[in-house]
């Protein structure tokens, strides 16, 4: 089982290495979308710092969501998903391995770049550790929940938009607590409660996703 998961992880990392754009793309998307806001709203620090937390979280969510679309789709289209499912191991191993690589490649870079983004949007410096920690707890949840949608739309045409529809409603709590935690930190309020909630949601996603995505893949 471990061997099976390692095989998948190795393969997916190799694929990323062969096409590094896949790794950089969500990151640049994240940065670009955020860069649109000062253009569309107003370049003033007073306004931007008010909306910063929300904008960062929404952008992170969109970047995760869009890169999730292909999580299983490419494997489905070339027939390798069939082969993965035929292997004599439970399908949740497959799901967890793929989600892990996805997060490593699309979620982690977001977290690492977030301090710079925060600066661009005039988020107070003392809120940055909270921002990073909340992203660290929140982005795996986004990847996990998103994997359910990705599994459901595998093999369906025009999946990208559909995935959004399926999954965005499920993301609502993560967005709310993620953004609120950062906003609270910016105002110098305690954030322990938020972090506990984000962690609880991560655990919840870890429990539900392997089953839901696993069974969706086998449809």
């Amino acid at each position: 089982m471990i061997g099976f998961m390692l095989t998948i992880i190795r393969r997916d990392l190799l694929l990323v290495a062969r096409q590094p754009a896949e790794m950089i793309n969500p990151l640049v998307f994240f940065v670009l979308v955020i860069a649109m806001f000062p253009l569309g709203i107003s370049p003033e620090a007073s306004i931007l710092s008010q909306v910063a937390a929300g904008v960062i979280w929404v952008a992170a969510m969109l970047a995760t969501l869009l890169s999730l679309e292909l999580l299983f789709k490419l494997d489905h289209d070339d027939g390798s998903l069939e082969q993965l499912l035929l292997a004599p191991y439970p399908s949740w191993c497959l799901v967890l391995s793929k989600v892990f690589v996805h997060w490593l490649v699309s979620g982690l870079p977001l977290i690492l770049i977030s301090p710079f983004i925060a600066m661009m949007l005039f988020l107070p410096d003392h809120a940055i550790p909270t921002l990073m920690l909340s992203l660290l707890l929140g982005t795996p949840t986004l990847s996990l929940l998103g994997a359910i949608g990705a599994a459901l739309v595998t093999g369906v045409r025009g999946g990208g938009m559909l995935l959004t529809l399926l999954i965005l409603p499920l993301y609502v709590p993560v967005i709310i607590f993620g953004a609120s935690s950062v906003a609270a930190a910016a105002q110098g309020m305690p954030v322990d409660g938020y972090m506990a909630l984000l962690a609880a949601m991560l655990v919840f996603a870890l429990m539900i996703t392997p089953w839901a995505a696993g069974s969706a893949l086998k449809l």
Binding site: F4, R10, R11, L15, D78, G79, S80, E82, A87
Partner: protein
Amino acid sequence: MSSSSSAMSDLFFTSDLACERDFRVLYSSLNFSVKAGDLWHIKGRNGAGKTTLLRQLAGLHSVDTGQVLYPNEATKVIYVGHKLGLKEQLTAEENLSWLAGLNGFSTKLQRYAALEQVGLSGYEENAVEQLSAGQKRRVALARLHLCKAEVWLLDEPFTSLDQQGIVDEQDWLNQHTLAGGAVIMTSHQDISLPQVKVLDLSLYAGSSLGDLSREGGSST
């Protein structure tokens, strides 16, 4: 066609298997068992249901009526379908590596040897997207030499292969069955091996859904 009573010596068998798509019964009351050394050639005209049957045997298509049973849970099965399951960006060797990894373990040397067997030496480090249709199929087939699986389910494995390729492949099929494996394959071309048993799907074609509820007995 053996009855399901001799079940335990079989690699697998079907009992009263049927399939219906879009209100048309493709086949029904299909009882056949596959033993070590069998080489089944599934025939039938376009749309007869050959692909569907192979996918049911592999467990990739849901079985609603009847059963497909593998008495020994550990029986290893390889399915090579219309879609080859290769990652286009990876090289031939890397593809073999992960495909073989699904069922066990292989060394680089073994993978090179398998690729040589299918006539692809020199192409080991080419990305699969740079291979021709026939060469891709050869990569997919190389897996058969690498994983030690008892049952091979092959959907039109001669597609895109040149004539030498087809001759070679029949040779592999021969060796596999002689070594105690079993092959179930579809093809519109004839197979020139003595041990071939033909399963003509047209003999099992049903006409209406009503048939599915009947017990036993094959319809014509």
